[in-house]
Subunit: 151 residues, 2 copies
């Protein structure tokens, strides 16, 4: 899903958020944000860690920082995550149109879709239950067309 916001703007927002919360603007935090923005897709914390190690071998980085930063970014709704049962989470850039996921259980690939009707119904249902919705996830699991073809 294509980003609908320029990176400069994202970065500005992030810096402002950090300031508001007495947090510091560090190289690591910026790199993690940028990697997720640039690489359209869904990544595990380890993926992100490896991507940064490759592209910026000169920067010191620990996996713990990746986890800490992802939690931060998710709290601020800058990234979203989808979970895979016990097998951890994948993260994606979050400032984009909301969308849902088709997850292939064979190859782990994720396709995205957006359906206005489903979005509306979700709002209605939350209202009906007097439930303050902070997020919603729709995930269809199964076998993607490529994997069906492979047999």
């Amino acid at each position: 899903m294509t980003n609908t916001i320029a990176y400069d703007e994202v970065l500005q927002n992030f810096k402002t958020l950090l300031k508001l919360n007495n947090l510091k603007y560090t190289t690591q935090r910026e790199l993690i944000l940028k990697i997720i923005y640039d690489n359209d897709g869904h990544f595990t914390p380890e993926d992100i860690y490896n991507l940064i190690k490759e592209s910026h071998p000169e920067v010191k980085l620990g996996i713990a920082t990746v986890y800490r930063t992802l939690t931060l970014l998710e709290d601020e709704n800058i990234v979203n995550s989808i979970s895979f049962g016990t097998q951890g989470k994948k993260y994606e850039f979050g400032i984009t149109n909301h969308h849902d996921h088709l997850v292939c259980l064979k190859c782990g690939n994720i396709e995205e879709f957006y359906d206005e009707l489903i979005e509306e119904r979700q709002e209605e249902i939350a209202k009906k239950f007097n439930f303050k919705m902070s997020n919603h996830v729709m995930k269809i699991t199964g076998t993607c067309s490529a994997c069906q073809a492979k047999g």
Copy 2:
């Protein structure tokens, strides 16, 4: 969600399934099935383990057996699970109308709902992507009315 099938029938089906697969009918397996059937709700493997330890202290039971049996029951579509990111899964009795979940992030409580329109759209979307759907999950996260009241 109220069970739509009598326990006797569930148990019969389960025994048949075991036989068909050359598996054995054990006290542990029966107890796990019964606990999930009887206690309408959503349980972690540990919950189930503790419930059985309490109600049947005379039975030998290890947590590993609970995991193994839950996997078995889920494969057979006798129970369903919903996942909570890193924090594991909760299981519920699965032979009932399909339904989706409202998950409260404060108290962990789960409410259920069913929406015909959403079900239909899911089918259509899978078809559109030539995706062979094995399962689908809709989860609305947020704050339940009780927790909103508490502030």
